[in-house]
Symmetry: C3
Subunit: 263 residues, 3 copies
């Protein structure tokens, strides 16, 4: 079944309210470029981010977190060990975790590493079309961290990946596509400026971990997170003279949608 | 003795002027989430930040810095070695250093590590109530990096910690409490939005290192730093539509208080 | 030959248009303080940043990137291995690479490390006067990451460094000086607030890598990047109440100059 979802669908509103009410602890192992913006995005929607990225702490911390994000942006030997520990810890404890396979396909080392993480059964895998195609073994990778394919081109690969690993696959693009292998949710909206601010896609992965943490089914959680970010991304563009202002407004709009501005 | 301190108390004004006049070099070993915001906060008040976090350089650099910050946010094996070297180097050279025990109590590994650092006699320990309680062995830790206790709940623990280690303890919260074990300074003000922007507490630790660097007594230095940030935090909230704008204004207001806007 | 260059010189306009048209992939190994701001700066001028900083990936990735930045800000053992791999990989593949010797001179370990990188023949070396003097063996280093010398004081050292290593040397300061050992380009403009926002100099190094990537001769590329940033830096100061707003406007102005605002 194909359906379209966007703000202010009652399911999206309900999911966002659940996040801001519960303030779930979201454990993020992410990259040095976007860690601050990711934390601020989670805080804007009312979640409680914590970045713990060493091998000793990541496993136990994942087991007590509401949701976990593993983002491959800037790999290092120690961060890789922490990612394995977090993925294994989350899976063993039944906590939802999101894999963001940044630049998989463009670089062999991380392609192998990402595939190895799949044994720990991510709840959601979020990437651009090139990354999803590469993870499914169906594409050659994008240009660095940017996609060279459109999201619809990756739909078949996303469905087969979803079925094979029992995960929800979210393909980010002009239209976001989220599938569990059977159903497909399309999230339109957003704005091209979202690709001109670093970390917007990475923050979406973290938001999905927060939405999964409040007991929403993963397909609905990932789709609701996409719809919230798309709404904020589209509103932020109005009158923004450039990406500096746009990034600031994106956080403001997330606060407005989540009702956290006065908090 | 209990007293209250806030901007524009002449002591606070004098301490801030001393920082912006002397532009002390502040050596920060901090986490990947807040490093940029911390540097911008220090620059806003006229200090000169430098982040050096490898084991070879951290010790010698701490010895020539005006003040040192050791923030446990994102530990790694190498960063831990650098932290030990910096703490030891600062202590040996008689340079003030500030310990920010992020998430201590919530995670066993860092609780042990933080306690090990105390042998190098931090000048100031700044944390939220949960962290201070845990460091004193009197609490079970907060929720990730967030406190589950109010600052007044930690006052007894803070006093005993101050006395035991000869350090000033600063408990951040709705009201900041700063004590040397005998005297207690209360800093009211600030704004709840300060907890919705990542790194505001971490930046306060760095500011305390800058204020200690200009030869203020540690209790006065830590209290003055708190009062400056509380004033900026409160002013920034006026008319901010969300946390994006609020974080930008926080730096602007610090510049305004420090008179560095035109520099 | 001495000449002055500034926006809107046709060469500068042409170089910026070439960057925003080609969207070169710029591989940055940089520090945890400025990684996000650097990526946003590159995105603002239309380039495609990717930060890959582990030893396995950095070499092969440098060989396929349009340009490479190696910034020594926060060294770590693994990041150093990645830097060597990236510098060697870029050199072997004939890709331009920029060395930013942050705090060289102030710290012995990185001074030795930076000199070791010179064997891989950087295309451009960008630093402040203290760093360039130290790299040339002619100065004792600045105050942490800040210069204690003016750019003109470093011109002789810059020329000899340029001649010895066949590199373009860019000395950042109130006036930027860029030389290939024979010709000297002076870029005036900019604004003192550029030194009060962390990462502006680091972002300039990344911009130089982007400009070199679109086949401009290195002297022209480095000078054009300086002129673009100086123009944005000067325009951003108008009406900025402090460094928070200033940093946001800097990205907005880069977008405006590059015509990427509507993208």
């Amino acid at each position: 079944m194909h359906r379209e979802l966007s703000w202010p669908d009652p399911m999206v509103l309900g999911a966002l309210t659940a996040v801001s009410d519960a303030a779930p602890l979201v454990h993020c192992i992410t990259n040095i470029v976007v860690a601050g913006f990711t934390a601020n995005t989670l805080l804007a929607i009312g979640a409680s981010p914590a970045m713990v990225e060493n091998a000793q702490e990541a496993g136990p911390f994942a087991a007590v977190a509401g949701g976990v994000l593993v983002n491959l942006g800037t790999l290092s030997e120690e961060r890789e060990r922490a990612m394995v520990a977090a993925a294994a810890g989350a899976h063993a404890a039944g906590r939802p975790w999101v894999l963001d396979p940044v630049a998989v396909g463009a670089l062999e080392h991380r392609t192998v590493f990402a595939k190895g993480l799949l044994v720990h059964q991510p709840t959601v895998i979020r990437g651009n079309a090139s990354e999803i195609l590469a993870l499914a073994g169906a594409g050659a990778g994008g240009k660095g961290v940017d996609s060279t394919a459109a999201s619809h081109d990756a739909l078949l690969a996303a469905r087969s990946l979803a079925t094979e690993y029992g995960a929800v696959i979210a393909v980010s693009g002009e239209t976001d596509l989220i599938t569990d292998g059977t159903d497909v949710v399309e999230v339109p909206g957003g704005h091209p400026l979202m690709t001109r601010v670093t970390g917007v896609g990475c923050a979406l992965g973290a938001m999905m971990a927060a939405f999964c943490a409040v007991d929403a089914p993963p397909l609905a959680a990932a789709a609701a997170a996409s719809a919230v970010l798309a709404a904020a991304g589209s509103r932020s563009a109005v009158g923004s003279p450039g990406t500096g202002t746009y990034a600031v407004r994106l956080l403001d709009e997330l606060c407005a949608l989540a009702g956290t501005s006065g908090a």
